[in-house]
Symmetry: C2
Subunit: 244 residues, 2 copies
């Protein structure tokens, strides 16, 4: 029995939904009511002490971190495999996931203003201070502080756009050269990890970079990803009109 606590617009949730669909696994869906702070409730913190989404509950055991969840699903349900066979390629796959995770701050600058900002703006200084205490990374703390009190500027969005172009799209372009997939010769969790990012870049952040002129291999990869039956089932709806 699999239960997924998730958000429709959350990049990490989208990864896990895509992985579940690729595996053909059915799950009970619970969309977390972030506007009403459900992810900060005592009940939710019991299954996810960081108060983030998603959380996967498998046979009663809760797990967070999208990259970890995807690899766990692949170890538990090996067919179809979503990891390369060799230890070295598995390591490269994990480093791709980590590299993309490290870019999340640049995505947050665009994503959170569409919905989380409305929530965070209403917090009192005390509520904000309480929230910040529980966040391990200074980068995430800063992101909450900014959406709550001092929204990101156009210049900051420009810098984030540049990072996503050079450190994600340019590197993907290079990595896709041998086989059309990020690692080894087959589709893997590394491709799943990149998908929510490329979706947002193509949709709003830098659509002119996801083109045959600028990044031909990424553009081909992206068409291939969107054509997969699992992609349609994983609910990558347009970001701005999606509720939570």
């Amino acid at each position: 029995m699999i239960v997924l606590h998730h958000g429709l617009r959350s990049s990490a949730s989208r990864r896990v939904r895509l992985c579940l669909e690729e595996k053909g696994l059915s799950y009970e869906s619970h969309v977390v009511d972030m506007a009403n702070q459900e992810h900060h409730s005592a009940e939710y913190l019991k299954i996810n002490p960081l108060g983030v989404i998603p959380t996967l509950i498998h046979d009663g055991q809760p797990l967070h971190e999208s990259g970890t969840i995807c690899e766990y699903l692949d170890e538990t349900y090996p067919d179809p495999p979503l990891r390369p066979n060799s230890p070295y390629e598995r390591a490269l796959m994990r480093n791709w996931i980590r590299h993309i995770d490290g870019l999340i701050g640049n995505l947050i600058i665009f994503n959170w203003r569409h919905h989380l900002q409305k929530t965070a703006e209403k917090w009192t200084d005390e509520e904000l201070a309480e929230k910040l205490k529980s966040i391990p990374s200074k980068e995430r703390q800063e992101a909450w502080l900014r959406v709550a009190r001092k929204p990101y500027t156009e210049e900051e969005r420009g810098a984030a756009r540049d990072k996503l172009t050079t450190l994600l799209l340019d590197r993907m372009e290079e990595a896709l050269k041998p086989s059309g997939w990020l690692v080894g010769r087959a589709y893997s969790i590394a491709d799943i990890a990149a998908t929510p990012f490329v979706k947002r870049i193509d949709e709003e952040i830098a659509p002119d970079e996801v083109t045959a002129e600028k990044h031909p291999r990424v553009t081909e990869w992206w068409a291939k990803m969107q054509a997969r039956p699992a992609f349609s089932r994983a609910k990558f709806d347009p970001f701005i009109t999606t509720l939570f």
Copy 2:
């Protein structure tokens, strides 16, 4: 054939050295000359495009990220095992590594002023700008900017100390309850990942927190870790007097 490009004081390098020693693997040691910017040289960037340490080269194949390297070593040389048997516990182990990695910004505040600050202070504005362009995470960018131009304040060090106490030591104290190890019933890469952090906390950052009164299980675990033969061989020398 294993080659390790590393730094004696680097927490990530210390993890990999400890893992290699636990496995009983011999390796060719290459200490990266960070004072002379060897990690930013074209030759080094070929094996590590992020310009960070450590890099492991195994049979000619380079790999970075300490957590990834340790898991790769365990998959390649399974004996003695450093990962739990069950997929769920392996997932918890990976999340421990990630959680600790997420706290690195708080360690950097203390660590970099001892040596990297002297290097970074000398950079021209152009050199600094060039360096910042290649760093994916805003947190790491900020850390370089700060050591180069505006060292952290005592208040910031206090906040970092609090994070390391609550989000590392307090959580370890809880996790160690069932078996005395961070995950499952045995020593694993999660314990290796925590070791360089606890070393620095005990040595300089908050020694009064690593005591039988404050964190009895962590203190017992730390004694156990230091007593392992691999620990002595992994060169955890005193931080401040260690030269690169």
